[in-house]
Amino acid sequence: MPTTTMKSEFIRGMKGGAPFILVIVPFSMLFGVVATEAGLNLTQTMGFSFLVIAGASQFAAVQLMTDNAPAFFILATSLAVNLRMAMYSASITPHLGDAPLWKRAIVAYFLVDQSYAVCAVEYERRPDMTTAERYAFYFGCILPICALWYAMTFLGAVIGSSIPPEFALDFALPITFIALFAPMLKTFAHVAAALTSIVVALALSWMPVGTGLLVAAGCAMAVGALVETRMEARK
């Protein structure tokens, strides 16, 4: 009996993750293409997708490496893009926290935007799930997403080097960055943070690569939080 429940939770999880295939396939292929265009070899490109497994920060790191930024700034900027995942980790802990450490470590490795979104909603909706069922659902959910993430990075990297320069693929990167943050501009606080980031980054572009961006990101986060606090106080 318990095994069939686990199996059905696993399948339910796969169904939850499946719609994201449409996002993962082109996005991971694009990373493979962009990374090889920037000069990474196939193993390095795959290394990124296996070890980091976080799209936007992988793109950020490749861009800063192309600019020959110092290692510290590449790491600080790319990790800043992933800081939101600390929130995912915090929010999912009450649901998955009482499992063995190794299981939580595997969950952490696969904790991406999509798996967080699907699982957090499901756990809220069905509070009577056991921890074991939650894990079965989680692993079902990440299977289609993460397996395709690796496979399509590989395909992108293989075809990437054969795309001619007339296709202006240099611009795939800024377009990707814009497409990632534009849908997040839902509140005035988000817009204020984004504008601060743009203005400060442009104003500080004379600073050594990466440093101006770090200052801009810090200012923008503070502005976002400040505007949010002001808006709440006004209610």
Binding site: S89, R104, I178, A194
Partner: protein, 109 residues
């Protein structure tokens, strides 16, 4: 890219470890202790604080045109942001940007 393979691998491995530790933070290390409210508030804004600042110089001063503003790239960036805000869809937004870029490059020769 002019860095050595050792440099590139160092970045990949450290970024992998750092990203894992961010994801593991609460699940594995902090448990159910609460973060101060202002920290959670700032974390909410990290993507919109980092990504626009990365994109802006690439849009205004593209390396492919030796840092000269380029009408095709400016139009593509505008289309990307408008469709992104309008549809809230990352892929539709990327698609709009690429279509605009190629259309403009074709029209402007």
């Amino acid at each position: 890219m002019t860095q050595s393979p050792a440099f590139i691998w160092t970045i990949i491995v450290l970024l992998g470890i750092g990203t894992f530790l961010i994801r593991f933070s609460f699940l594995g290390l902090i448990g159910d202790r609460e973060l101060p409210g202002w920290v959670l508030k700032m974390l909410r804004y990290t993507p919109v604080a980092v990504l626009p600042g990365m994109a802006a110089p690439m849009v205004l001063w593209p390396a492919a045109t030796d840092g000269q503003p380029d009408p095709a790239r400016l139009a593509a960036a505008s289309a990307t942001i408008i469709v992104g805000i309008w549809t809230k869809n990352v892929l539709a937004s990327i698609g709009a940007g690429l279509v605009t870029l190629y259309a403009m490059m074709y029209l402007l020769g």
